[in-house]
Subunit: 346 residues, 5 copies
């Protein structure tokens, strides 16, 4: 079933159905290490039978044929094939007994445009192999892990395939923290702008940020369930020693959810502050208008009245008429100001 999705542009996942497929294999155990790029998918089939850990990374998933061959050779369920191809899936985990399928969304922040893109990563965890599928359009975020394996840093070479999967997920979560850190900076920047020079653009940016958070949240929430079920799960593929690491990244995802919810609350609060200040300003402006109008309208009427051309118009012939006019003006202004004072408008 070809699933079509409601996805807004901001997190546009890269459909890379016509990019080239690159397949790289890393085969390692505590003692030996082998890495190669393969052209033909068949080249990596024999790794299934080696006791060492084999990590097959498929980047660019346009060649359905390649995936199909992999699937068949490693005895995967047809639904997994479909899930790998469907790039707009909700993150999920599925335990098929002798292997576990994990779909996860990785976030990338475009360095230049500052746009955030999401990409689906499919992971298959078998007894002594791990297969990962990337779209290939984004920067490969697994390079640091490969580096660790190559240089035999940390305990990765001593551990099983489940630890490698932990490392992969950990790497993806780290990228989330980077994105959220950027959000944090943006929120701080907007907070300062809100104090120094609030305008309609600040509001627009606040709303945009909030909308992006709504979108990102969709990728983070299921992550928590996935790692939680991986850690608690009864699969024999996940060793007891690895569980403690999974519990660790589980807490990280809880923290991610926490951060994003707090940030949303704070953004809502900031938008409220802006709107309140607009309301307040309108009130201020109305006061000025009303004060001016209330003072000058009666005066203008008065001036207009003494400008009338009636033939029988006694006041204008009085000697102190003009003086009287000014006395009335001053009385009106003073009493109005007094009235505004009492109303606390000035």
């Amino acid at each position: 079933m070809q699933k079509k999705m409601v996805e807004n542009k901001h997190l546009n996942s890269q459909f890379s159905l016509n990019s080239e497929t690159k397949i790289s294999v890393i085969d390692y155990d505590a003692k030996k290490f082998q890495e190669k790029e393969v052209k033909e998918i068949e080249e990596c089939f024999h790794f299934k039978h080696t006791p060492s850990i084999s990590w097959i990374n498929v980047s660019g998933i346009n060649q359905t044929e390649v995936i199909k061959q992999l699937d068949e050779h490693f005895g995967l369920h047809p639904l997994v094939l479909e899930d790998i191809k469907n790039l707009e899936q909700r993150p999920k985990i599925e335990d098929f007994g002798n292997y576990i399928y994990i779909a996860i969304r990785a976030l990338h922040c475009n360095e230049t445009t500052k746009e955030i893109c999401s990409e689906q990563i499919s992971i298959i965890l078998g007894k002594n192999f791990v297969i990962t599928f990337q779209t290939g359009k984004q920067k490969d975020i697994f390079e640091p892990i490969r580096e660790k394996i190559r240089k035999n840093k940390g305990k990765i070479r001593k551990m099983q395939s489940d630890y490698l999967v932990y490392r992969i997920i950990d790497r993806i979560i780290e990228a989330y923290f980077d994105i959220l850190e950027n959000f944090g900076y943006e929120i701080e920047f907007l907070e300062e702008q809100l104090i120094s020079n609030p305008n309609i653009n600040t509001l627009g940016m606040l709303h945009n940020l909030k909308k992006e958070m709504i979108q990102i949240r969709r990728s983070i929430w299921p992550l928590r369930e996935i790692i939680g079920s991986l850690e608690r799960g009864e699969s024999s593929l996940v060793k007891r020693t690895t569980r403690v690491y999974l519990r660790d990244i589980y807490y990280h995802t809880v923290q991610l959810v926490d951060n994003i919810e707090t940030s949303r609350d704070i953004l809502s609060e900031m938008i409220d502050v802006y709107l309140s200040s607009i309301n307040n300003k309108t009130n201020e402006i109305m006061k000025v208008l009303t004060i001016i109008a209330t003072i000058f309208m009666p005066l203008t009427f008065l001036a207009g009245m003494y400008g009338m051309n009636f033939k029988y118009f006694p006041e204008i012939y009085w000697k102190y008429g003009y003086l009287l006019f000014w006395i009335i003006v001053i009385v009106v202004v003073v009493s109005m100001l007094f009235y505004f004072k009492r109303k606390k408008w000035v």
Copy 2:
């Protein structure tokens, strides 16, 4: 019990109580395949006893008698009969031991009017038969499944009746995704309009979209429970091999719920943006009004004053009176502009 319902017009379910009833039967197993339209309901009774899978589709449910006969022949509970006839039911699942009753709402998007209609589909899953009931007013959405059975595509002919039900529900969910995809396009369109030329119509469309989402959500939420309980349920009618497929569409419904909730959040956000911008505009307009009034009201008073007809009015006889007038005008204007500048109104 004849249930009457609170249902708004937008998702008006088609009461087709006077349309004609069409009954079609498909009988298949891995090797043979038979399809026919029957006039008399009795013609399909013998299919109950064949070991092959029989799919009886009743379209148009006005002939209560037909449903009753079917019910009686297949030994269904009287409540099931009522549920099939009640076209405004909340989606539900009921396990009666030797058969399972499922009521589901299918969504159709009218190609021309773009209106969304919902229709109740009743499904009865028995050991080697499946009975489906449609209102018959909408396009038959099961044709692709029939095509698969006819051409023996995929594994449908090799599987049992539960797999057929999975295929039917999967087809209905696919239609939901199509609808949501359309919503996605509409949201994008409105988002662009909100930036380029926001007006009261944009707001109306946003509110309409949100209202439609509230309605659709009612059909989607129970779907999740239904498929979840079908998958976890202990009915012997649902085979282990089918469960993995049910789990797959279970995740699809979770994704549907996710999408609809995210879309609602985004719509709310967009409505807020529009309202904020209106508030801001009113503020802008008030500023212009106040600036104009504050500048010209004192000046008009001044002009009116020098237009008074007092006989004893020294200033108007001064040689530089008119010049003085202009000096006062300029001083007033400049000081006002200075005041507005400080208030950041200009």
Copy 3:
């Protein structure tokens, strides 16, 4: 404990403590049927010992003595007596082992005033008897059930006392659906009014409807728990065959809750639409005011200025002074309109 309640007027429950008590008894089994009105409560005591189902309906509960006698004769707990007398209870169910006490709120819609009243119905389900208590101020809604028993329609005469209770609750729920259907019509009516001629009354009606929903919701939510616990409960009074019927009305209450929540969401949405449109209108009005003021204030100043009476006032002696005045006027008007055009105000 005499409980006093916070209850708003809209759903004013009828305190009928001084209406007359009417006691009617129906005694039936599959073969025989007997119905009578009794004057003295003692007359219905012997029904307790008959193997046939006895339905004692007490309407008007002012005669505490009557209730007390019934309670004592049927061996009810003192708390049940209090619960029956307390007419403002939250719907609840209590299993006392050899009988079950159920308190439920029935809604009545006054035909003439369209006001909704609620009434407490107390039901006691025993092994072969059912006692119901009504306030007696409202129309007796159980008549259709009696009719069914009298005419031996359906399977009610063949079933036990638990089926009778199912029928009674089913009847009450049906009334809820009627009320909600009316709400549906009102919402549709208001929706049309909102489009054609929105005014402050529409808003008031929307708010009233929402307030009524908040009140009704209080009666519906506990209903779900009650029926759920009756169906799942382990009481031997509820037979397996009846459970499927209870599950059916359980789904109806879920649907009721669903409908009322969706209606509330839609009402909130409609109120938002109205308020948005008010905001928009104010903005429109402000624009008109500002445009008029911005055009005519400078012009009025100009006219006022040339009305000044300065002796040394060169312009007014110019031959083309008046023409110049008009040229200035036109330039001001045109440039203002141009400014408004650019601001998209006209």
Copy 4:
């Protein structure tokens, strides 16, 4: 640990650390009854060993020494001592095996000021004794219970200590219902005021009521848990016969929560109604202002224009100039009114 609390003034709990301590003891069983006020706490120690139920009520808890002696004699945990002294606790229940400690908040409504005060009541339920601690600043609400014991009304003398605790809690809950009833009256009063003469004070009172509800809710919510855990708890101190009574007051607390939530929803609704009406009024006022300004501003300009003193001003010498002026005035007014009519402003 001396806990300090965030508590707003409205529900100011009475710190009575310098009031006098009064200790009263009631000792009873089905046959005998004894009541006395004691000066020295030692006087009531021997009641611990009598098989009859002893109710020791300590009012005014300033004499820490007294509490300490009681605690030690009855073998209470040091934490209980601290909890009794800490008057700002969240309601809680703690089962210590051979006794149960319950802290609850009682609400009092000051008759004259209509202010609501809350007071902490600590209850210790032992095998054959009950100790209660009051602050002593409020009216003693337990008098009706003592009266029942003295006059041997109801079954209280025949029951154990757990029934006495039930009675005490029941008495406290009754006070809550009284408070909520008062709220109900206030809401009704405000609802009428909102229709007849809404003003800023009405709004203030609505907000105050809502704030008081937020505060009271804090006392009610934990109550539900407390009674629920007392009823379901496995303590041998709570007899089976008492559980049915506890279940009864459990339902009362559920009803309290229900009432307070519904009241809050209704208050929010009423505040919305008020704000909507303010919005509407502002809109109405703006219309009047705009209509007046739009009509008279052009006219004033016209009049000002014909008051100009240009020497070369042909119109003013025309015979029908003045008539023409009036014709223009009428045309302007009529066309403006026509425009407003079309805009539905008049």
Copy 5:
């Protein structure tokens, strides 16, 4: 994994990676007591093997080497080392069998700036040792506990290491109550200001307070889970006698959550009150403006009209023209006032 965090400035946790590390050891049991500051971490290793309780407090965690040595000597998991170093963790608890790791956030209120800072405290609870890690930038809040141990006050010297951890957490929670108490005072202050002299600053302070609460809530919520799981947990490190104390502080955290949620509700309510009053004031101001404009605009037009210079202008030559003018003025004013009276604007 070096985690970077979204943390707003208000609760800026002090990165003290270059402050000096101070290590202090307290070794005690019921009879003996020993306290010393150590320079070299090796000096406190032998305490691990003493049967007495050893409390090692590390303040300033810049010397990764020190932590590493401690970790290795006490056999801690590498992840614990990372968690101690990562100062922006979400509070968490992790049971490693023979020791428990707890990360908690302590709040400090800067005496002078009134700013609230948060600091991560890491606690390791072993069989007969407790290790705590502080950043060292804040005031050491554990001094009162040390004092209790030194002077053998209370039962701390008689209890095990789990009781010491209880005391440490209790101390941290106490600080939370202090902070919330300050919030309470601020809310009261703002409430008074809101009544006496509401202005935009009051609103700003309300919003700031609410934002701070959102941040603090993040530290408090997980606290509840931590203490709950510590109390319910099955670790043999936590003795039965200590559980009752843990349950006590568990209730304190519930109360903290309660207080913070109630305070947030009240703050929201207060902000609503302020905004309503602004809305109301704008309405009031608009009324004044409209009344003034509606009265004086027609009058000014009238005066302007009689100032026109038409040659043929009959009225101005009438004897009672001027009198008539005043009659018209009075009629206009009175009828306008009457109109406003009916509209309830004055």
